[in-house]
Amino acid sequence: MSSRCRAKLVVIGIAALAVSACNREERHSRSKPIGETVPAGESPNTIWPGGSAPAALDPRAKLYDNNAPAISQGQQLYMTMNCVGCHFHGGGGMGPALMDDEWRYGGRIDQIAASIAEGRPNGMPAWRGKLTADQIWKLAAYVRSMSGQPSKDAVGSRAEGMSTTTPATLAPREPAHSSDTAQQ
């Protein structure tokens, strides 16, 4: 291989790396209006009974999952919307823990977003109509980071305030399974 050819390959390699970095930092300050993204009254189908094939992942997932600005803004929302009040900093209290491997309503980002938007029995309020879809998906992106799902370069290394939990960059990745399959 000539040195020129090698140099070209190096340039292409660096460009490819740079492109992959863009994905992590994409910011979007505008959200689609609530009414357009989730028609009022209709619940997205994110729960499927055991055995049946899971539905395809919501296309919005790739905008928010593993996206550094979405995760950090979700973290702010988690504090300001008082998710802390029930779920604490992931350890759970009145609400279930979010940093473990157990997901009652699924641990996929679209399933978490649906849980936030629609609310769940026994206390989880519905946030649709209070938060925009954009904010709900950012929250879902942050909630996933609590159990170490996103890659470590997308999460912040420190919490916004005082925190006793492990820094997100050191959080172990929990295998996400739903509660019915979890070991009792």
Partner: protein, 341 residues
């Protein structure tokens, strides 16, 4: 551009800054005791240092021009200091005295400026907490009587002649509180208590601006400071303490319903209504303020429409989301917000 035109262009900003009638946002505003003291201190330092500098340069030029005299050539090297010219000895003594007096004078001037500011801080009559957020100012008037505690945003009202202690906090990143007409900058640092004391001297309206880069909308993080007479200030405080009036027109009532039950209330509080969010600016007397979105736009119906419908086009990246209100909802919300006088 000719030489003269270029020189004029270079001097123009300085001349503009010196204009005394421009007090809205000017370090020459002298609208508070602090700014006045800083400015007089600056003038004293400037004059003393300029005189010393001129004297040094004059001596240097004189030394260069003076011819070397053979008899006095090596007085120092030959250990004959005592033979140096008497006039030179006197000159050096006087020079040392002038330096000493100048330095002591500067020290005394800064000492008194410092003491007078410290005494103002010790005699605070009003306590205000300002919490900076990306990208707006949360203003809270503290009072021992909890029913007199007042929360507003992006507008600071101060009584003239009263020492005001402002406690400075930040919720996210480092910001800096800077009202050039009143005082110098003071940083707001997350997790730390900081404060600044002001004694306003002149009534008027001044502009403050965040002076520490704090993110995309740093430039749109301004603060209106309204210095009133003490009675006007109390009147304003009393008015701000009243809860928002119930809307009377059907349109405003529809807006009230949307604001208090919809997404607005997740972040904003309106006194006297169920809207109790503490994340965004308090809207209780929104329409009585001079600006929208921390000095981004003047308060007015058209600007309210633009801001409520699409805050992300007016101030991209700010934390107020574009909700996507339907036209009927938008008319109602703006009609209600306009009643919040």
């Amino acid at each position: 551009m000719t030489m003269r035109a270029r020189a004029a262009a270079m001097l123009l900003p300085f001349a503009a800054g010196a204009c005394s009638y421009q007090q809205y946002q000017s370090i020459y505003g002298n609208a508070a005791v602090e700014a006045q003291q800083f400015n007089s201190l600056f003038v004293i330092f400037l004059v003393v240092c300029a005189v010393m500098y001129a004297a040094v340069i004059l001596f240097l030029i004189a030394g260069l021009l003076r011819r070397r005299r053979a008899a006095e050539a090596n007085v120092v090297e030959d250990g004959r200091h005592h033979e140096s010219h008497p006039a030179m000895r006197t000159g050096l003594t006087v020079w040392a005295a002038v330096v000493a007096v100048g330095l002591v004078g500067l020290a005394i001037a800064s000492f008194f400026a410092d003491r007078s500011m410290a005494s103002a801080a010790a005699n605070e009559k009003l306590s205000i907490t300002i919490t900076a957020n990306q990208w707006w100012w949360d203003v809270q008037y503290n009072s021992a009587d909890a029913s007199k505690t007042l929360r507003t945003a992006n507008e600071l009202h101060l009584p003239v002649g009263v020492p005001v202690r402002i406690l400075l906090h930040s919720n996210d990143v480092i910001h800096s509180f800077w009202v050039p007409s009143l005082a110098g900058k003071q940083d707001l640092i997350p997790g730390r208590d900081n404060d600044i004391t002001l004694v306003p001297r002149k009534t008027g309206i001044y502009r403050g601006q965040c002076a520490e880069f704090c993110g995309t909308q740093h430039a749109h993080m301004a603060l209106v400071v309204n210095v009133d007479s003490y009675s006007d200030f109390l009147k304003w405080w009393q008015h701000q303490l009243t809860p928002a009036a119930a809307p009377t027109t059907p349109l405003a009532q529809a807006g009230y319903h949307y604001v208090t039950s919809g997404p607005c209330s997740a972040c904003h509080a309106i006194g006297g209504t169920p809207a109790g969010g503490t994340v965004g600016p308090d809207l209780t007397h929104l329409a009585s303020r001079r600006s929208i979105a921390a000095g981004t736009m003047p308060m007015g119906e058209g600007n309210l429409y633009g801001w409520v419908e699409d805050p992300q086009s007016v101030k991209p990246g700010n934390h107020m989301p574009t909700i996507g209100l339907e036209p009927a909802q938008l008319h109602a919300v703006v009609a209600y917000l306009e009643t919040l006088k």
